[in-house]
């Protein structure tokens, strides 16, 4: 059985204080603290990009686990902000961290649903191929495509990367996954001709509020449990307001569905593994529901179960 063994993370050192600049965006402290929920966003330095953030996350994973790179049989990198389009970022990372020629390597272009999709795809691939060790890296420096003057996005998105080790010695088993797409609504969250990110906040909010709660219930049912059986819900950290809305619609407590992106913001494909990394070593949560949603528009939910 292939599942999650460990997670490494990387957050750039630079922080932008949202409270200091709130007035410039015609909003107040109450809005920043209770609606956005993001007091600071993490931001990559000028010379950092998806590749360098990813390399730092893998280095953190290596420091945590003592992982030998020649054991890795597949590397998949999730990003929508690769910088250079050719070659794929995972190929550059493959060379940087010293993986072998026998290691399969490709990128997945997905945003906030990307981690849940990638877990499902890579687990299936590894089990089909008989692989024992694989890496999923998420890396999205959205600051490179966010218009610094755009109220809808500039105060929200933070930069980060994570590296998840999948192996045959898992801490978490990966359950069955819902994987959905509504391509007809792709214009609500997309890059414009200028390359900047455009987000129709109302449309994205409505999409999340109406589709994510039933999707979580469906994923629970798919895995033979009910919402009440689940210890913790780690959903994409779009904003505090969207997490609160999803939580209220499911009738859950803040403890069961926390908002944890206060100090770094919405980190796209990295938001779920950033929260999950803290929980790998702590045994209190046996069943964890993860749910990602965003660009596409797409959404996906899956159940992680701690291996006894």
């Amino acid at each position: 059985m292939i599942g999650i063994e460990a997670i490494g993370t990387y957050l750039p050192a630079r922080r932008i204080d949202n409270l200091e600049r709130a007035a410039g965006f015609d909003c107040d402290e109450e809005f920043v603290e209770n609606k956005l929920g993001v007091l600071e966003i993490s931001q990559a330095a000028e010379d950092e990009d998806a590749f360098s953030l990813a390399a730092n996350a893998v280095e953190d994973l290596r420091a945590r686990t003592g992982l030998e790179m020649d054991e890795i049989e597949v590397l998949v990198l999730v990003t929508q902000t690769p910088g250079k389009l050719i070659p794929h970022v995972s190929a550059r990372l493959h060379g940087e961290i010293g993986l072998t020629d026998r290691c399969a390597c490709f990128d997945i272009s997905l945003g906030c649903s990307g981690y849940v999709y990638a877990l499902t795809v890579v687990k299936a691939l590894m089990e089909a191929q008989g692989f024992r060790r694989g890496l999923i890296v998420t890396s999205d420096p959205y600051s490179k495509i966010v218009d610094a003057g755009d109220r809808n996005t500039a105060m929200l998105f933070g930069d980060a990367a994570t590296a998840t080790l999948l192996s045959d010695r898992p801490v978490f088993e990966i359950g069955r996954t819902t994987m959905k797409t509504r391509g007809a609504s792709h214009r609500e969250l997309m890059s414009t001709d200028s390359g900047n990110l455009h987000m129709n906040g109302r449309a994205v909010f409505t999409f999340c509020a109406q589709n994510v709660p039933p999707d979580i219930r469906e994923a629970a049912e798919l895995n033979g449990v009910t919402v009440e059986d689940i210890d913790l819900f780690l959903v994409h950290q779009g904003s505090k307001f969207i997490v609160d809305t999803i939580r209220n619609r499911l009738g859950l407590s803040e403890e069961k569905m926390p908002f944890g992106a206060v100090a770094y913001g919405n980190t796209v494909s990295s938001s779920i593994p950033l929260l999950l990394a803290e929980r790998v070593a702590s045994p209190e949560s046996r069943r964890i529901m993860i749910s990602g949603f965003g660009v596409g528009l797409s959404w996906a939910s899956s159940l992680l179960t701690r291996v006894a």
Partner: protein, 80 residues
């Protein structure tokens, strides 16, 4: 379906925690004047669409900014 009233809209604002029971409500004042932020307005309109069976396009969303205007707009849509 009964016409949508100011009280219906106020109840949805309370249900979505944008207002508390007992808050002073100015039905003809801009929502922001009562401390109702842009994200609260997203949630209000979602609830209005779900509960009253109407679709409110983005161009109308921008124009509707008081409790009384929203109630009148929904009633008019329901009557069509």
């Amino acid at each position: 379906m009964n016409a949508c009233t100011n009280e219906d809209i106020i109840q949805l604002l309370i249900e979505s925690d944008a207002l508390a029971e007992g808050d002073e409500v100015l039905v003809d004042a801009p929502l922001k004047q009562m401390g109702i932020q842009s994200l609260d307005k997203f949630n209000l309109f979602l609830l209005v669409e779900e509960r009253h069976g109407v679709q409110i396009p983005d161009e109308d969303f921008e124009k509707l900014d008081t409790v009384s205007a929203i109630a009148a707009y929904v009633s008019e849509k329901q009557a069509v």
